[in-house]
Symmetry: C2
């Protein structure tokens, strides 16, 4: 526990109503989407970079760990207060400071909710593409810290591709600016991109400068059912080889479709063994041409049925199948490990085959769907933790899934990050030398190991296995 | 000078023919595009990451500075061997290792010449957009180290937007891989982007994994002459507000056009006071629509004349005016300082007016052209060094140009980097705290200050002025 005298100093910094040691509050900030739980000693809601700087100075003085937190929607435990100490919530920093329509640049605070920001820029005809599944509650600060992705990344890239500048409180309490509102800039190291995806270990984000695009004029959605996963995967490659980069190329494998069939009354033909949802956006006339071209390209690849939506309402209906997946999975088994490996696009079918084998070996249902366009597969390992031995089997299966992805030139995580969930496995992907380079940066910038300690890399003795 | 015994060990590493202390060779590697000259002690041409690793280990053992070098086409002195020691040329690492047409990814060695790579991928229908002016001789390794830009960046972004993985020899001699061939990846810190634009101070690039795009079907070029720079600048903003992001939006100011008129017999009407070259690319039919839309948007903004090219040959003719600029400038004055500030797009006219004032104050011709679409202005300060006082006036003018850009929310360098040319001014843009964060990274990763020392940041005593 933190001494009362330090709590008093923290209270002085953020104000009484923004510093809580009440158990109920601490519990509220003890978990994230991993469903793991760690109780912090105190929860702080600072209102400015200045207050955060003071908190960091005090934390360094007293060696108290600080865990920055957006909405706690992360899937890898990045915001969990694993060592007690301070949870530093950015919820009060929730202002969209500026939307510069002339320069297509916005400046926001980190606590702004992703979807609210998207809606605000769309109102003035602009577009912020990154669309993590959690966008209704996730914050932009968390999105930046984890480098969130989403379905639209095939065409538009991930969060970091839109972040051109930051204001950050460093682990030792300095307030610095990185990058800026210009489209180019090469003065000094690109700290902006280093901080994107650094999972809150190298600085606390207090302002974000975001590059925007003009909002595409229109969108069309196709839902295509294939008789095999290979047909769907070939379709992905063929579309891109055909020089079309769709906005979205989502896939669901046979098991996923089975789940949907069992759990819902949505119309999914029996012959369908894989589904692609393909979206294109841009000039209205040009879209018709693109959809026709896509239809022609995929026709020989075992198409069972194609549905095309041209209005937002029709599109929403097509997405129903995809959106029903998460709820449907719960019928398979109560506990889910949601991994998010990414392989080169062309290796997706091979990866799915490997996962099927792993599933058979360990006798655990594994359900795959995700962003086929960029090879990012959400691998859902479904178990019942209450059944003896299932958890251990799941852990072995996860390790084999990671190894498979790496053997195919991929990565353990496309968009969820490492946090604590993947930290035990990081040695599979990153060599000791590369890890040393990363840890050297962390140690130099955070000599007291105050900021989000124990994330990405376990303590040295714990990682010795890999 | 380096002791013979060390030269012998270096010779053992790279082979006799790839280690030279001959004066003629050393002179060849003593300069870059800044026209400054520093003689290295020895020039090495290693053939592999392994050899480079051994060189770095030896350099650390003996405290010899190592200056990595691509083609030496940089404008800020990034590759200059300012402290003697070793020039490490990557010229022999010149193989395109793989072009993966299915995944739109290439792997290359750093010594591959930019244009040769572009041509190789275009042959198979793919596209590598970054196009620095030096692309006929610059290398991809140098492009990555400096994060090169170019005219096409308005639509397509800069070098770092295409670099998804690297193999790097660290300052202390480890060989590490960063990123990989997947479109997404968030395992550990994004060292790839940190190394892009780090000017060879954090590692020596030995392999580059590059994301490619499908080659656009067609291109159209418009050359538009305006009666004022304000009209041209408003055109830039209006086009982008009209939801068109052209491939290229190059501008030339009145003085630039005067130079071209005086030095060439190209047809430039007397009423033209600013020129925009606008290129759009994509689907052939759609381009006609875009060009018509652009013509309508810019019509009320003081258009003197519009020329449209639809074939590569016609396009080449339009680009003649832009390509003749550099040679034309030499007629103004023999010596040129080529700066590359970048401001938010909408501030370009204000920046040009400020530069005109600075030009008047110091009685030095300043000629501006560049990439208006992303606010990146090439500011050419033309003097005759032989005239007493001109150099001093130029230096003061440069500092004022930088200050002006920063006041307008811009940066001192959009694409050329800091090197030694802008190092004395870096304190204008980067606060002490941000510089401390950057230097902390450098010091931790290169404790002996072996790799490209003295670049970006001057020694501490020298920077005290700012």
């Amino acid at each position: 526990m933190i001494e009362q005298q330090i709590i008093d100093r923290l209270t002085q910094i953020v104000g009484k109503e923004n510093c809580s040691t009440v158990t109920a509050d601490r519990i509220c900030y003890s978990y994230d989407a991993t469903q793991q739980q760690f109780l912090p000693d105190v929860v702080l809601h600072p209102a400015s970079a200045d207050e955060i700087s003071k908190i960091m100075l005090l934390a360094n003085e007293k060696f108290i760990p600080v865990f920055p937190r957006g909405a706690g929607s992360g899937f890898s435990g990045g915001s969990l207060p694993t060592r007690g100490g301070i949870v530093l919530s950015t919820e009060r920093l929730d202002t969209i400071l500026k939307i510069d329509e002339e320069n297509l640049v916005a400046t926001v605070e980190p606590g702004v909710v992703t979807e609210q920001f998207q809606q605000a820029v769309e109102k003035v005809g602009l577009f912020y593409p990154p669309d993590p599944a959690s966008l209704k509650f996730s914050t932009l600060g968390g999105n930046v810290a984890e480098c969130a992705g989403g379905p639209r990344c095939v065409k538009y890239g991930v969060t970091k591709d839109y972040i051109i500048g930051l204001e950050v409180v460093t682990p030792t309490g300095d307030i610095i600016k990185t990058g800026g509102p210009t489209m180019k800039g090469v003065v000094g190291y690109d700290l902006t991109k280093l901080l994107c995806g650094s999972e809150g270990t190298l600085g606390i984000i207090t302002k974000i400068i975001i590059k925007l695009l003009p909002l595409p004029e229109a969108k069309q959605t196709m839902l295509v059912m294939f008789d095999s996963i290979d047909g769907a995967a070939q379709a992905v490659s063929a579309i891109i080889k055909g020089k079309i980069i769709p906005t979205t190329l989502e896939f669901m494998d046979g098991r996923t479709i089975d789940c949907v069939r069992q759990a819902t009354d949505l119309d999914v033909p029996a012959a369908a063994n894989a589904v692609l949802i393909i979206e294109v956006d841009g000039d209205r006339e040009f879209l018709n041409k693109q959809v026709a071209k896509i239809s022609a390209i995929i026709k020989p690849l075992g198409v069972v049925e194609t549905r095309i939506a041209t209005t937002p309402k029709e599109s929403e209906a097509l997405w129903q199948i995809r959106r029903s997946v998460s709820a449907s999975l719960r019928k398979v088994n109560p506990d889910k490990f949601n991994e998010d490996i990414c392989v080169p696009r062309s290796r997706v079918p091979e990866m799915i085959r490997r996962i099927d084998k792993i599933s058979a070996t360990y006798e655990i249902p594994i359900v795959n769907f995700g962003h086929a366009g960029d090879g990012n597969i959400h691998v859902n390992i479904m178990i019942n933790k209450k059944v003896a031995g299932e958890l251990e089997k799941a852990e072995k299966a996860i390790e084999e899934v990671f190894k498979g992805a790496l053997e195919l030139g991929g990565t353990m995580s496309g968009e969820h990050g490492v946090g604590i969930a993947k930290a035990p496995y990081i040695g599979l992907e990153i060599t000791k030398q590369a890890a040393f380079y990363m840890k050297t940066i962390k140690k130099a910038l955070d000599p007291n190991n105050i900021l989000n300690p124990g994330k990405i890399f376990l303590d040295d003795k714990q990682t010795a296995n890999h």
